[in-house]
Amino acid sequence: MIELEHLSKTFGSGVSAVRDVSLRVADGEFLVLIGESGSGKTTTLNMINRLVEPSSGRVLIDGADVRSGDPVALRRQIGFVFQEIGLFPHMPVAENIAITPKLLGWPLNEIDARVHELLSLVQLGNADIASRRPAQLSGGQRQRVGVARALAARPKIMLMDEPFGALDALIRDELAADYRAIHDQLGLTTILVTHDMTEAFLLADRIAVMREGELLQVATPRELAASPADDFVRRLIEIPRRRAEKLAKAMQSA
C-alpha cells in the first residue's frame, strides 16, 4: 500500500506546487492521477520515489516512511516510466533494460534471462531488437523498452508520468491496453499521471483529480461520472463523453 499523508511541496522560487495531498493506493490498484498542466500531479508522483523531496507531509510504502531509507535503494525497487522515455542513447536496448538489475548486482546470466523475458512481455521478443540502439527504434518500440526497463528489477510499484503522451494515437491506445494487461498479469500497483480523461477512464481502477496543487476528488470512473465533486471535475469528465457523442454523430453522417 502507498499512503500519501498531507503531502506539500513549495519550490525554492516560492511556487506552491502541491498542497496537503492525502491519498491511499491499495496493492494491485491502478490509480490515474489527472489534472491540467501545473496541477501538481507530476510533482506528487516524483515525491513517491524521492526524485523530489516534500516540503511537508510524508509518503509511506507498506507502512514505512520512504524518507527513512536510502533514496537510491528506494528507486531501484520502484519502476518509473517517463513521457520523454529517457532511454540511454549510448547503450543498446538490452543494456538499457538491464540497468537496474546490474546496479543491484544480479548475476549476468540471470540478467540476460530477465532481459529476454521482458522483451517478450512488452511484445518485442520476436524482433532482433536487443542489440539495437534506441535511435534505431520507432517511438512505440522505444516506450515498450522504457516499460521493460522500469519492470526489470521486478518492482511491485510502477510510477508512470504521461507515458503514452508523446505517441501516435493508434500506438498509444495499443500500448496503454498492453500495459494494463501487464499490470494485471504481474499484480502491480500503478500510479499513472495523465491529462487525458479518456485515457484515465479506460485504464484506471480509481481516478484522482488534481487542480492547482490540491486533490479535488478520488473515485472510481463510475462514481466520478455519477457524482463529480465540483464544476471543474464535471467539466473534466464531460470531455470524453462529449467527444464520444460528437464522434458517434460524425460516424453516422458519414
Binding site: 520515489n49 526524485l51 537510491v72 535503494a73 528507486r75 531501484r76 518509473f80 517517463f82 520523454e84 522515455i85 529517457g86 532511454l87 540511454f88 542513447p89 549510448h90 540497468i99 537496474t100 546496479l103 543491484l104 540502439r133 526497463r149 528489477a153
Partner: protein, 514 residues
C-alpha cells in the same frame, strides 16, 4: 642549402622526442587537473564562472610570456623548498615548460567538459536517477559517456595548442622543435625556421587527426575507433620518445643565449667536451639573465657571458676601472659568491653604438659625444635587452642622449634596420660580423660609459674544479681574437655561402691561436 637541411635532420630525433615528451606530459597533467575541475564545476554551479574566467585569463597571456613567467616562479619556489625542506629542483627546462603548457591546455578542456555535461538532455539524467543510479554512477555510466564527443573535441583543441605552443619552450631551456625556429631566427637561417614550423605543424596535425578519429569513435559509439586511435597515438609518442632513452648518466649542460656567437661558441665547447669523452647537452636560446641564474642554480654547467653584463647587472657596479680590473674583480666576485670559475676567451664583444659610415661621416659624428647633438631628431634601434639595462642608463646619463624614438629588434634585424635607414643608429655588438658587412661605423666612447665586455666562459660551482672538463676547455682560453670571431659570426649571418653554427665551430677550432 643541403648541409642546412641535413643539420636540421640530424637534430630531429632529439628535438622531436623532447617536444613530444614535454607536450604529452603537459596535456596529461592538464587533463588530470581540468577534467576533475570541470566535473566539480558541473556539480557545483557557482564554481563554473570563476574556473572558466581564470582559464580564459591564462589564455590571454601570450604563450612566450606564460612560459617565461614560470622560470622565476619556480626559482622562488625552489629557493623556498631548499630553505624549508632542504631540497630544490631544476627551475629551468622541462618543469617550467610542462607546467606552463599544462596551464595553457586547460581552457578548451574545461569549457568543453562543462558545456558537454550541462548540455545533456535532462530527461536522460532524470531517467538515470529514476533507475536507481547514485550521482557517481550517473556520472560514469551516463553523463560522461554522453558528453564524451564534446569533451574529446576540447582535448583535441588543447593538444593542438600545446604542441604548437611547445615550440616556445626553447628560451626557458626546454629543447623542442622550437630550437629550429629560434636558432634559425638568430642566424637568419630561414630554411631552419621553416623546418621547425613544418615539423611542429606535421606533429600537431597528426595528433589532431588521431584524436579526431577517437572523437568520431565516441560520437558514433564505436569502440574500435577509440582503441585504434589510442593505439596509434601511443605508437607515435613511443617512437618519438625512443631516441631520448640512453641519454642516461652524468652530462654537462652548455647553456647559450639567443645569438649567433653564443651558438657557435656553444657548439665549439660541446665539440671539445665530446672529444674529451665528456657527455654533454645543450640548452640553447636562453634569455641573458635566465642563463646566468640557470648557471648559479645548477640548471646549466657552462655558459658564455660578458664581463660588462655581469659587472652592471649582477654586481650592480656603475664605476669603470678598466678592462683588466673589471675582469679581475668579476672573476674574484663570481668565485667568492657562487663558486663559479671564469675562463676568458680573449676577445671583447662590447655594446657600441653604430651608424652607417656614410651617414656618420656626413654629419661628422665620430663619438657618442658627437651623436648627442643630433640625437633629438634620431631614432635608435636596439635589441630586446639594451634599453632596460643599467649600461644604457649610464650611457644616456653620461652623454645626455634624448633620442626621438626607440625601436627594438631581434638582434639580426637591427643591423638591416640601420643599413636601410629605418633607424639612424643602433646599439651594435662589436664582434658582430655585420658591422663590417654593412659598412657600419662604431662610435667612440670617450667618457668610458660602456663597461668592457670580455667574453668569458663561466663554469658552475659543481664543475669549477673538474680537471677533466677544465683540461678540455683549456685550449680555448685566450685563444680567440676579435677579427676571428667577427669572421666566424659573419659566416653564420651572411646570405651567401651561409654556414651552420656547427660548421663554423669547426672552422673556428682550426683558427685557435695556440
Amino acid at each position: 642549402m643541403n648541409n642546412l637541411f641535413s643539420a636540421g635532420f640530424a637534430n630531429l630525433p632529439d628535438y622531436l622526442g623532447q617536444h613530444v615528451l614535454v607536450s604529452v606530459s603537459a596535456i596529461l597533467l592538464g587533463l588530470a587537473i581540468s577534467l576533475p575541475l570541470a566535473i566539480l564545476a558541473y556539480r557545483v554551479t557557482w564554481l563554473r564562472g570563476p574556473a572558466l574566467t581564470v582559464a580564459s585569463v591564462v589564455q590571454t597571456i601570450p604563450g612566450l610570456a606564460l612560459l617565461a613567467l614560470f622560470y622565476p616562479l619556480l626559482v622562488i619556489i625552489s629557493a623556498f623548498t631548499t630553505a624549508t625542506f632542504g631540497f630544490g629542483f631544476r627551475a629551468l627546462g622541462f618543469l617550467p615548460a610542462m607546467l606552463a603548457l599544462a596551464l595553457y591546455s586547460m581552457l578548451p578542456v574545461l569549457r568543453n567538459t562543462i558545456v558537454g555535461l550541462t548540455g545533456l538532455d535532462p530527461a536522460i539524467i532524470r531517467a538515470a536517477r529514476a533507475t536507481g543510479m547514485t550521482p557517481m554512477q550517473s556520472l560514469w555510466l551516463v553523463e560522461l559517456p554522453l558528453a564524451a564527443p564534446v569533451i574529446m573535441a576540447g582535448i583535441r583543441t588543447a593538444a593542438v595548442w600545446v604542441i604548437g605552443t611547445a615550440t616556445l619552450s626553447t628560451p626557458i631551456g626546454q629543447t623542442s622543435l622550437g630550437n629550429y625556429i629560434f636558432t634559425g631566427l638568430q642566424t637568419e637561417n630561414w630554411v631552419l625556421v621553416l623546418f621547425g614550423c613544418i615539423a611542429a605543424a606535421v606533429l600537431a596535425l597528426l595528433i589532431d587527426r588521431l584524436l579526431a578519429l577517437a572523437e568520431d569513435g565516441f560520437a558514433k559509439r564505436q569502440l574500435w575507433r577509440q582503441w585504434w586511435a589510442l593505439a596509434a597515438i601511443v605508437i607515435v609518442v613511443g617512437v618519438s620518445l625512443f631516441p631520448l632513452f640512453g641519454h642516461a648518466g652524468e652530462t654537462v649542460t652548455v647553456g647559450t643565449k639567443s645569438f649567433d656567437e653564443q651558438y657557435i661558441l656553444g657548439s665549439l665547447i660541446q665539440k671539445r667536451l665530446n672529444a674529451a669523452g665528456i657527455a654533454s647537452a645543450r640548452r640553447d636560446g636562453l634569455g641573458s639573465t635566465v642563463a646566468f641564474h640557470a648557471l648559479t642554480n645548477g640548471d646549466i654547467d657552462i655558459s658564455i657571458d660578458y664581463t660588462g653584463t655581469i659587472w652592471t647587472n649582477e654586481m650592480k657596479r656603475t664605476d669603470q676601472p678598466g678592462r683588466a680590473a673589471v675582469l679581475a674583480q668579476m672573476t674574484a666576485w663570481l668565485g667568492k659568491t657562487y663558486g663559479i670559475r671564469v675562463l676568458p676567451l680573449g676577445f671583447e664583444n662590447a655594446y657600441a653604438v653604430a651608424m652607417r659610415r656614410d651617414r656618420a661621416d656626413d654629419l661628422h659624428i665620430d663619438t657618442l659625444a658627437d651623436l648627442a647633438a643630433h640625437a633629438g631628431g634620431m631614432t635608435i634601434g636596439g635589441d630586446y635587452e639594451i634599453f632596460s639595462r643599467p649600461e644604457w642608463r649610464a650611457v644616456t646619463a653620461a652623454y645626455g642622449f634624448k633620442f626621438a624614438r626607440q625601436r627594438q629588434y631581434q638582434s639580426d634585424f637591427m643591423y638591416r634596420a640601420v643599413a636601410s635607414n629605418d633607424v639612424d643608429a643602433i646599439t651594435a655588438f662589436s664582434s658582430d660580423g655585420r658591422v663590417a658587412e654593412y659598412n657600419l661605423k662604431l662610435l667612440g666612447d670617450p667618457k668610458g660609459a660602456f663597461p668592457p665586455y670580455d667574453t668569458v666562459l663561466l663554469i658552475s660551482a659543481k664543475h669549477a674544479h673538474d680537471q677533466k672538463l677544465l683540461a678540455a676547455l683549456k685550449p680555448l682560453i685566450g685563444a680567440i681574437d676579435l677579427k676571428t670571431m667577427q669572421r666566424a659570426n659573419l659566416m653564420v649571418d651572411r646570405e651567401k655561402d651561409k654556414r651552420t653554427p656547427e660548421e663554423t665551430a669547426d672552422w673556428l677550432s682550426s683558427k685557435l691561436k695556440h
